[in-house]
């Protein structure tokens, strides 16, 4: 394989190489520095005159005399069933001190788009044991449901609780977890791994770690590595895979960094104009495929910059994913765990996963009623601040009380508390007893008759 020593320019994470043979777009690159150290990169732009290489480990130490080698293939991950139980670096190399992986095959980490015609509609209810998710924002197998969080909020605990408790009711096979950390601190990573080890979940997990002090460019590869492993386990090994990606905000920051280094025209807040497309090539790698037994369910976590949901990262994510679980600083301050604010949360696939035969016939109506009452109750808090509670009508007072009890009894639960869907829905009916039956306008008359426990 030919080696070049024709570096013309080095800027940020990019190396410009001139006078090469025709080089394929997307090619993997090895850069050998004079001290023998080797770095990896990828071709971003190729022409007869100049090839632009993006270096994953950062360009520090590369000089004009470094040697460039084009490998003639794009980035691949070696996969096999032995991936389970292993901890890998963000670039896919084992870092747990275990034996080397013997890959069954090597897969292109960019994957390919699933033919929409080949997809199957997700419809299997996943019970996470968390009421606000199960009843109000139901997760189904094959969905991509992100957690919109903020710095300092317990998103990691929630993600772990979901990973621990998630199951499809009536089915034995539990989820295999593929965990990809992007730019999180060593401490956070330890927290995850410790929890995996303690609960024995590590045996059923593949962990990819790109920590805060790892090169930023590597972050662009990590989620794709993880999803390639997930797709292999799901579609070729028939497993149900839950992919946790944390923290997507760090991923997007890296994307911006590369864009700036390439001197691209920036879009909103400096993020590249193609960020939507780029994110979609990650998030869309979830789902079910006709004729395949496994599935990929995604649970990306992102921290909203300044708790702003209109910031480009949560905004573009929300447009691609099938809903979002939104955490609230206000609830967190009230010491409510999990601090999930159901109002801005949503699960788009909820309706296909709930109802008779899947969860319970009253599920939809029940959650609609809770939503409506809670929303009104929260609105009234603003009014109470001005006019005082005495000025409210009887109905408004009830709604105010409902909002309070909803947060206390329904939202609040223990970190180890695994509520069944029946239990969750029953809590809803318990809360409704403060209303008269006819006030429950979102619930159909038959269901009201069957489940309502309060006075007529």
């Amino acid at each position: 394989m030919k080696e070049y020593k024709t570096i013309a320019r080095i800027a940020g994470p990019l190396v410009f190489v001139k006078n090469t043979d025709p080089t394929p777009y997307g090619d993997l690159v090895k850069i050998t520095m004079p001290n023998g150290e080797v770095k990896n990169g990828q071709v971003l732009d190729t022409s007869d005159e100049m090839v632009i290489v993006q270096v994953f480990e950062g360009t520090s130490g590369i000089d004009r005399n470094s040697k460039i080698r084009f490998l003639g293939e794009n980035i691949k991950l070696g996969v096999s069933k032995d991936l389970l139980g292993r901890i890998l670096s963000g670039a896919g190399k084992p870092i747990d001190g275990g034996s080397a992986l013997i890959p069954e095959k090597r897969l292109d980490i960019n994957g390919a788009a699933i033919n929409p015609y080949s997809r199957e509609s997700p419809k299997d209810f996943i019970q996470t044991g968390i009421s606000t998710i199960d009843a109000m924002n139901t997760l189904v197998r094959g969905q991509k449901l992100p957690i919109f969080s903020g710095s300092g909020l317990p998103h990691n605990e929630i993600a772990l609780q979901i990973a621990r408790q998630a199951k499809v009711v009536g089915q034995e096979s539990n989820f295999v977890v593929v965990f990809a950390a992007m730019g999180i601190t060593n401490e956070e990573a330890q927290y995850f791994i410790k929890d995996f080890e303690e609960t024995g979940a590590l045996q059923r997990s593949v962990v990819f770690l790109n920590l805060a002090d790892d090169p930023a460019v590597e972050r662009l590869v990590t989620p794709r590595m993880a999803l390639t492993a997930a797709e292999y386990l799901a579609y070729e090994q028939n497993m149900h895979v839950l992919v946790i990606l944390t923290d997507m905000t760090n991923y997007c920051e890296s994307l911006r960094e590369i864009g700036a280094a390439r001197e691209e025209v920036p879009g909103r807040r400096g993020y590249p104009g193609y960020m939507y497309t780029d994110l979609s090539t990650i998030y869309e790698r979830a789902g079910l495929i006709k004729g395949k037994k496994g599935s990929v369910t995604q649970l990306p976590i992102l921290t909203m910059v300044g708790d702003d949901i209109t910031h480009p990262i949560p905004d573009l994510t929300g447009y691609i994913t099938e809903g979002q679980i939104t955490l609230s600083r206000e609830l967190h301050r009230k010491n409510i765990y999990p601090p999930i604010n159901v109002l801005p949360s949503l699960s788009r696939l909820m309706n296909s996963g709930i109802g008779k035969g899947k969860t319970r016939d009253d599920h939809k109506n029940n959650s609609d009623q809770m939503y409506a009452n809670y929303a009104e109750g929260v609105d009234l808090r603003g009014l109470v601040a001005i006019v005082g509670e005495d000025a409210l009508s009887v109905r408004d007072k009830k709604l105010l009380k409902f909002a309070q009890e909803f947060e206390d009894k329904f939202v609040r639960q223990g970190k180890q508390e695994n509520r069944s869907i029946n239990k969750t829905l029953d809590i809803g009916w318990d809360l409704f007893t403060m209303f008269e039956k006819r006030e429950l306008t979102r619930i159909s008359p038959e269901l009201r008759d069957r489940y309502f426990k309060g006075k007529e």
Partner: protein
């Protein structure tokens, strides 16, 4: 734009199967993502080219000295400089003919089921597939005979494409007038000759048309009839006309896609073209699995039978996403030309605009607002301009051009009366006019309507359905904000509603609107002092407004009966609510206490009508009960 250069004639037999000789061959110079540069290529703007050894499909988007810039519809990983680029000399075109209905295509009209067969569940590249099935035989029944003189756009025969749907085989618009020397009846594929003219032109059932060029019509007409959607808030407050345009902007989670799908399901159009442009894969799957099981409320046949789906999900190549809305518009126009009413949904035009931005930034063009290219609003306007009601080329010649030239009103009335007559006879005469209605979803970043795509869209669309995240959060669906939305078709459509539904329609609608507006004003006071301290009459307005919001505006898309609401039902609900209003005001006049009025139970009975087929009985009973209850409290 150059005319008559494109080969838009019928597809000659077999020819499409064999590879045409390229007009010019160049070689690749630079590759950077979906945009590549070739040198030594002789090409016109928007010519389709084949890139690299794998012959990936691309389109010329810029010519700069000896360099030709090409956007590639497939992933370019692994392509290297020096590989060949061939110019086909053809513009990006779609195949039109029997077999379009029930199909699902990607953005450049490759059938996804065929792609699945050829390359499995994941979309690989370098695979070519014709838009129509070239092997399937269709039963062709000529309506012209030997010796007839025919011209471009004229219908020469019929094919029953899906049960109950007649596909009219038209001469391609580019054909010259001639006399039929041969016309065949029987089973043919879309590429077999069915008709020969005396000027040596042969005609097949399939024809090609470049997607970026609107198909010609005889005359564009102003819209006259509403697109009945079965969704109360649209039909009642903010109707869109057949041949009109509408925009649904909204932040994520506000229900854009559900609204679009509801429109696709229940609109009274003959044909639905649904373009999933840069959206979620699972959503397209939902449409695919759901539509075959849903029945058209008019014909009782599966909705899929009248639907063409175009799915270019967000992770499929961005250049094909850019093309997808044009592909959709061209297919819609083709059915319009047969004299049908077509509704096209584009979900979402923001993704399309972003595709444009992405390509533009790779071309290093000077960016306009928020990085979008300066030609964004021109492109959007051109696209929405493809919606309209028209007299197609295929219309019977007996419609005199004189009529068409008369002012809008006459055309409107004459169409209505003739249609009404036909309906009475039990058969609807179609074919004199056709229409394309375009309903575009817009996904503004952060739900901020002041961004360029929303603003450019609002300048050209006439109906604006503003989705509101606040409403969605309290599960008020469809989450259309009734104060921000508008329809500029209200006056145009008034005669239609007066004729077809009842002369009281518009007054009823106006009363609904004014009560809702009144409520908004009062809410500001309520926010400060609470509702109990308002005067009785204003408390009554608040209650009536609540009835309107809950029983008229809210609609459950997932309830089998509430999902579709006939106009008559909307009218009765409005009348019942106003009945309560009238009685309430009268009772207040006679000194009744507002508390007693608000405690009445009959008004909540209206809710039951939403979920019941026998709404007439329920609403009449509710009105009667209201009468009784008000008697008691006097």
């Amino acid at each position: 734009m150059k005319k008559n250069n494109e080969k838009t004639n019928s597809i000659p037999e077999q020819k499409s199967a064999q590879r045409k000789k390229p007009i010019s061959v160049g070689k690749l110079y630079r590759i950077a993502g979906p945009v590549v540069v070739a040198v030594g290529l002789d090409a016109r703007m928007y010519d389709v080219v084949r890139v690299g050894n794998e012959r990936l499909m691309g389109e010329v988007i810029q010519i700069d000295k000896e360099k030709t810039v090409i956007q590639v519809y497939e992933d370019t990983t692994g392509i290297r400089p020096g590989e060949p680029v061939e110019n086909t000399g053809e513009q990006l075109s779609v195949e039109l003919g029997p077999g379009l209905l029930t199909s699902i295509y990607d953005g450049i009209q490759r059938p996804l089921p065929v792609l699945e067969k050829q390359m499995g569940s994941f979309i690989q590249r370098g695979v070519d597939a014709p838009g129509l099935d070239h092997n399937k035989k269709w039963d062709f029944k000529p309506v012209k005979k030997k010796g007839d003189t025919v011209k471009a756009g004229e219908v020469i025969g019929l094919v029953e494409e899906t049960p109950g749907f007649t596909h009219k085989i038209m001469l391609p618009p580019s054909i010259n007038e001639g006399r039929i020397t041969q016309i065949n009846e029987g089973k043919f594929t879309v590429t077999e000759t069915i008709c020969v003219l005396d000027n040596k032109q042969t005609v097949t059932m399939a024809q090609r048309w470049p997607v970026r060029k609107p198909r010609p019509v005889r005359k564009k007409l102003p819209p006259t009839a509403p697109l009945i959607t079965g969704q109360r808030i649209f039909d009642v407050l903010f109707p869109v006309a057949k041949g009109g345009t509408a925009a649904i902007p909204g932040p994520f989670g506000a229900g854009k896609t559900v609204s679009q799908q509801q429109l696709a399901k229940w609109s009274d159009a003959d044909i639905i073209v649904y373009v999933g442009c840069g959206e979620r894969g699972n959503e397209m799957t939902e449409v695919l699995t759901e539509f075959p099981h849903l029945k058209d409320p008019k014909s009782g046949r599966p909705l899929m039978n009248r639907t063409v789906l175009i799915a270019n999900t967000s992770n499929m190549p961005v250049a094909a996403r850019e093309a997808s809305v044009y592909t959709g518009a061209t297919i819609a126009e083709y059915f319009r030309d047969m004299g049908y009413d077509v509704a096209m949904m584009a979900d979402s035009t923001s993704r399309w605009a972003e595709a444009m931005r992405e390509i533009s930034s790779r071309l290093e063009e000077m960016p306009g607002e928020e990085g979008y290219p300066a030609y964004l609003s021109t492109r959007l306007a051109e696209f929405y301009e493809r919606a309209s009601q028209v007299i197609p080329l295929s219309a019977p010649a007996k419609i005199k051009m004189k009529d068409a030239h008369k002012d809008a009103k006459t055309a409107k009335e004459s169409k209505q009366t003739s249609k009404e007559l036909d309906k009475e006879k039990g058969q609807e005469r179609k074919g004199e006019t056709g229409s394309v209605t375009i309903i575009g979803a817009v996904s503004p970043p952060g739900g901020d309507f002041s961004e360029p795509v929303t603003q450019s869209t609002l300048r050209v669309t006439k109906t604006f359905w503003a989705l509101d995240a606040k409403l969605a959060q309290r599960r008020h669906f469809p989450a259309i904000n009734w104060l921000n939305s508008y329809s500029l078709y209200l006056n145009t459509l008034e005669p239609w509603f007066a004729n077809k539904v009842g002369s009281d329609w518009r007054p009823l609608v106006n009363q609904m609107m004014s009560i809702l507006q009144e409520e908004e004003k009062l809410m500001e006071i309520v926010q400060l002092v609470g509702s109990d301290s308002l005067p009785a009459r204003q408390q009554l307005i608040l209650e009536v407004a609540r009835l309107i919001r809950e029983f008229l505006l809210q609609q459950n898309a997932y309830h089998e009966i509430d999902t579709y609401c006939p106009l008559e039902k909307s009218r009765m609900i409005m009348k019942t609510i106003l009945h309560f209003n009238t009685l309430g005001n009268a009772a207040l006049d006679q000194g009744a206490r507002i508390k007693d009025i608000l405690a009445l139970k009959s008004k909540d009975k209206i809710a039951d009508a939403k979920f019941n087929k026998e709404y007439e009985k329920i609403l009449k009973n509710a009105q009667k009960e209201m009468d009784d209850e008000f008697q008691k409290i006097k």
